[in-house]
Structure formats: structure tokens, C-alpha cells
Subunit: 331 residues, 2 copies
């Protein structure tokens, strides 16, 4: 709702956008810091996010492909799943994912809770089952105690697991980027080049899709509006969810928050650099050819969107016991 309001304001008020504009006049809004509602739930979710025992191999955790040391992504074109399977699509960052209109590139999960259950049971990713993952946690007294303390009962459920992971993920917002500081009135937070890049970003129409506090993430859009996007990647986008032909090659607009950290770009990961991504977006979405100078200004602006990265202690996981089914990496 906040995003929609911001958009409305942006559309209504922003006939011209002077450099001294207050945040409400801008199509991009500052990112508010996360508010932790249930610290114990978040702490449990953090452990689960880092626990490779949710995978069949005992080797792959949520953090493997959404590495919080690396912008919440794996920085690979497509991810590595169980048995080194090549994933079908680029892993989106988990940072600020709570602001997305839906999860996955095609939006097939409406909530972070729905999303969290997917990779655990996906044969190409963590390759476990919800039953096995829950049985594993249930065999570990350190977890059972924590689940009981959070949820008040002795029996771990997959709903509790995904609720905890989602609660942790909701804390993964990255406020205080230099751009946010500028938005909030610190006129020295950006260099003239970065500001010029932002002006160009708006003037060129990038903010039609990349807007709101997440600078994207809030709509599905056709990949290739002005010119077709050529790729060998097989993903067809949102049509997989809606079955509507109109949604073919519609993908969720990715957030540009921390985009300096979340290379490579696009659903197929084919753009290795921001320069390349800006060039392609200009050409296929806006019908524009940016000069090298323009491109580098926009890239300079994009790099101001890097905010405070996750700031917490490495979680220490409770040990398995004699009752825990050992992982099966090679079966």
C-alpha cells in the first residue's frame, strides 16, 4: 500500500523534479529500516536460513543461493542445486524481498512464507521434502526447544519453519543508502555525476517500472517492450502462473536496491555488468541508445542504492543427534 501511495504521489505531483525535491516528490522513496516484531522468531528463522540440513545433501542452505555476504544473491547466472544441477533462472536477491509484490521472477509465491517452502522441496534445488526437513528439525533438541519457546508446542511443522524464515527475511532490508540520504535532504550525499545519472534515470523512463521504496519489485512487466529480448533461457515468465498469453515474458521487475552487489542481471543472468544491463534495458524497454557517458552516469547513480548490509552474528546451529537422519549427498 505504501508503494502504491508513493507511485500515486509520484504520478500526480512530479511534473518536474527539481534537485531539492522532498522525498514525496520523487518516484523513489527512502527505505525504512525493518522493525523486528518478534526477536525470538527472527532468531530462529536466521538459524534455519543458514542450516544446510534443510537440504537432502546437508550442504545447501537458503544462504547458499541468497548469500547474505554477497548482496543476498549467489552472483551466478543461475544457481547450483542438489547434485550440481544448473538452475533454470537467476536467483533474485533476498534483500528487501519483503517489499516485492510477490516472490520468484514469475510471482508464483504471493508471500515470503510461500516462497520459503519452495526450494526446500524442489528436486533441482535443496531436494528435500517438507516431511524430511521437519523430521530433521524435530530430531534436534536445540531446535525443538526454540520452536517450543516461539510457537508454544513440541511438534515442529513446515508452517512454523516457513513462518520463521519469512520473519527473518523481513528483517533483511537495507536502509541508509547514499541515495536515501540524499532523498532525506543530505544534498552532499551524491556527487554531481550520480545526481545527473538519477535525472537521466527518471527522464529516460526507467522509473516507470523501477520506483517505490524498493526501486522495483512492485509490478510485472514485459521483458522486451520496444525490441525483443533474445535469450536461450527457457523461462516464459508470469504466463506460468496465470496461463494468460498476455503474460508471456512478463517478469517481476527486480528491485534495484543493492544492484551493485547482485550481478549478474536479468532473469537469465546474461548481463554480467551494470553497463551491459543499462544498455540492454534502454534498448529493449525504452527504445533508447544511451551514450557511454549517459550509461556511466546511470551506473554511477545505481551504485548509490547500496544500503546497510545485514549486520548480525553468524548463527551457531544446534547439533544433530543420534536420532537425526544423516544427510544423503551422494545417494
Amino acid at each position: 500500500m505504501r508503494i502504491s501511495k508513493a507511485l500515486l504521489l509520484a504520478t500526480t505531483l512530479c511534473i518536474s523534479t527539481p534537485l531539492w525535491a522532498a522525498p514525496a516528490d520523487e518516484p523513489i522513496q527512502p527505505l525504512p529500516a525493518a522493525v523486528v516484531k518478534d526477536a525470538k522468531l527472527v532468531e530462529l528463522g536466521k538459524k534455519l536460513f543458514f542450516d544446510p540440513r534443510l537440504s537432502l545433501s546437508g550442504f545447501i542452505s537458503c544462504n547458499s543461493c541468497h548469500n547474505l555476504s554477497m548482496g543476498g544473491s549467489d552472483n551466478l547466472k543461475s544457481s547450483i542445486g542438489h547434485n550440481w544441477q544448473k538452475g533454470p533462472i537467476n536467483s533474485p536477491t533476498v534483500l528487501n524481498s519483503s517489499l516485492n509484490v510477490a516472490q520468484f521472477w514469475d510471482g508464483r509465491a504471493l508471500t515470503l512464507r510461500d516462497q520459503a517452502g519452495g526450494p526446500i522441496a524442489n528436486p533441482g534445488e535443496m531436494a528435500s521434502t517438507h516431511e524430511l526437513a521437519v523430521a530433521t528439525l524435530q530430531s534436534i533438541p536445540g531446535y525443538v526447544g526454540e520452536f517450543k519457546s516461539v510457537f508454544g508446542n513440541d511438534k515442529v511443522t513446515i508452517e512454523e519453519v516457513t513462518k520463521a524464515i519469512a520473519a527473518f527475511e523481513e528483517t533483511l532490508v537495507t536502509p541508509n543508502s547514499r541515495f536515501d540520504k540524499w532523498l532525506k535532504g543530505d544534498k552532499k550525499a551524491l556527487t554531481p555525476t550520480e545526481l545527473a545519472g538519477y535525472e537521466l534515470f527518471k527522464e529516460s523512463g526507467c522509473t516507470a517500472c523501477h520506483n517505490g521504496s524498493a526501486v522495483g519489485g512492485n509490478t510485472f512487466q514485459k521483458m522486451g517492450v520496444m525490441a525483443p529480448y533474445k535469450t536461450t533461457n527457457l523461462a516464459q515468465g508470469r504466463i506460468a502462473v496465470t496461463k494468460a498469453e498476455a503474460d508471456r515474458f512478463n517478469f517481476k521487475v527486480p528491485t534495484l536496491r543493492n544492484v551493485e552487489l547482485t550481478y549478474p542481471y536479468f532473469h537469465d543472468g546474461e548481463a554480467a555488468t551494470l553497463t551491459e544491463a543499462v544498455e540492454t534495458m534502454g534498448r529493449i524497454q525504452l527504445g533508447k541508445t544511451f551514450t557511454p557517458e549517459e550509461n556511466s552516469k546511470i551506473v554511477a547513480f545505481l551504485k548509490t542504492l547500496t544500503g546497510d548490509q545485514p549486520d548480525f552474528k553468524l548463527p551457531i546451529l544446534p547439533p544433530s543427534t543420534d536420532k537425526t537422519t544423516p544427510p544423503k549427498p551422494f545417494d
Copy 2:
């Protein structure tokens, strides 16, 4: 040297070992906390330890197989390497590894620095080369600045990389276990069962090999002194280094610090539980058959060796740049 002195004292003085014994009378010594000599070097090493860009795939870091959330091990029989290759041997814990007489099960690296370079360039592990790893770091300004700040020059070298990783690993000691508290005089730190387990551990001869502050790690010993150890694992132990037939099936005695966390056990990872490990050790090393009660007492004692686990913030890694060679997970 400290370990040798402790051993000497233990051998000289410990005719009987009363429960009120001072530490010097015990074959196991308390683990002193790590002293950080160069905080910037350690911080750099921590980042490198967590950085999967030291691998060809961009997916495997030191922490993948020596997971500091899980006792510094991967809790797998044998590790998963590049392209999901099955490792030849169980990954030893990195915790307290600075106390080892040498690194790897066969001791083929004399120092942590020597060890750190191994997996990076091992085709079955991280599958990179020292040249590629260094070129990758050299392409990342965030790293170049940190290397310069620590080493005073602009050119990253593999020697600097392994020096930093080793310096970080030297901080990974785990003091303040309940057993250490008992050793230091807190008589309530152990239960009567745990104490009885320790007495049995000594009386049975376990401390012949598992002694010193790391409760092992300081000698190579034959696996199967009293009865042959049967395994399908191909590792032949220290003979691979010394070429001496007498060293066939000699392996470095693993530390028992944090042994509750470092399952499964032995160089082949074939003992899934501590109960199984104690049974096998008694039988093949000591010619003893522990009763179930004796076994469980020893296991109870072993679980008192879990010390303070790594306590630091998740490192945030500096991003790659347009000049960085992208990882090659699937080539």
C-alpha cells in the same frame, strides 16, 4: 611445546588422578583463548574464508566444508567438491586447528598457511588455481584496499591470501567448555556421570592419544592397533607423506574439542554417532569392549568438551567489478 610439557607432567605426576586435581595433574589442559595479534589481518582472512570467489564455481568457500555454524565442519562423511565431486576423506574441523601438529589427516601441510592453499587449487575441491584466485581478488578494489592496508603493497599474492586465512583460523579456538571450567577448579561444572566418564576415559587409555589442550591433534597414530579397522575408504594415512611403510594407516589423532558438533567421525566419516565412535575406538585401539553404561559415560564426558563457538558478525564481501572474471560453475 606447551603440549609436550603438559604431557610430560601428566606422565610424570599422574600416578593417580583425584577429582580435585589441579590442571597440571591432568592429561588434558584448558584451552587458552585466542590472542588476536593483527585485527586487520584477521578481518581480511575472515572475508577470504567466507568468499566463494576463491573457487572456480564461485560457489564453494572455505566455510562450505569447514562451516563455522556447525563446529567448523560440514557434518558429511566426505565433502562435496567442485561439480559435486565426492571428497576422498572426512573434512576435519577448523576449530582449534592451530593446535594441530600438522594439517590434513596425513599431516601433509605443516602449517595452516600451507593448508589454506591446498583446497583452493585442488581440482576435486574448489578447483581454482592460485593465479585465478589472486587475479580475482586483484580485480576487486575493496580487497585491494584491504590488502594494501594490511601488507602495504598494491599487488595481492597467494602468500598474503594464505597468511590472512591462517591468521583468521588461529582465532578459531573454543575456550570455556564445561570441562575447562572443571579443570580450572569449578567442581560443579561437570555432573557425576560426566566426571565418571572422564575417569573412564583416562583409565581406559584414551588419553594416551587424546591429550593436551586440544585433546588430540598432536600425534599421528595407527588406526587399528589392537584389531584392524575395516573401511572401503582408500586413504592410507601418513605413508602418503613419509613414504615409510611404518606410516601406513597412521592418521593424525583428531582433536576431541567440540566433538559433539563434528560428527560423523574418523577419517572415513563412517562412525555416525559418538556411541559408535567410542565403541570402535575401544575395540580397535585399546582392545576393550565398553559396556553400554561405560560408553554412555564417556560420551557424556566428551560432550563437555564443547567450548565457545565462533562469535563474530557475518562478513560482508566487497563486490566484484567489470574486470572480475566471472565464476565458471558449469564449464
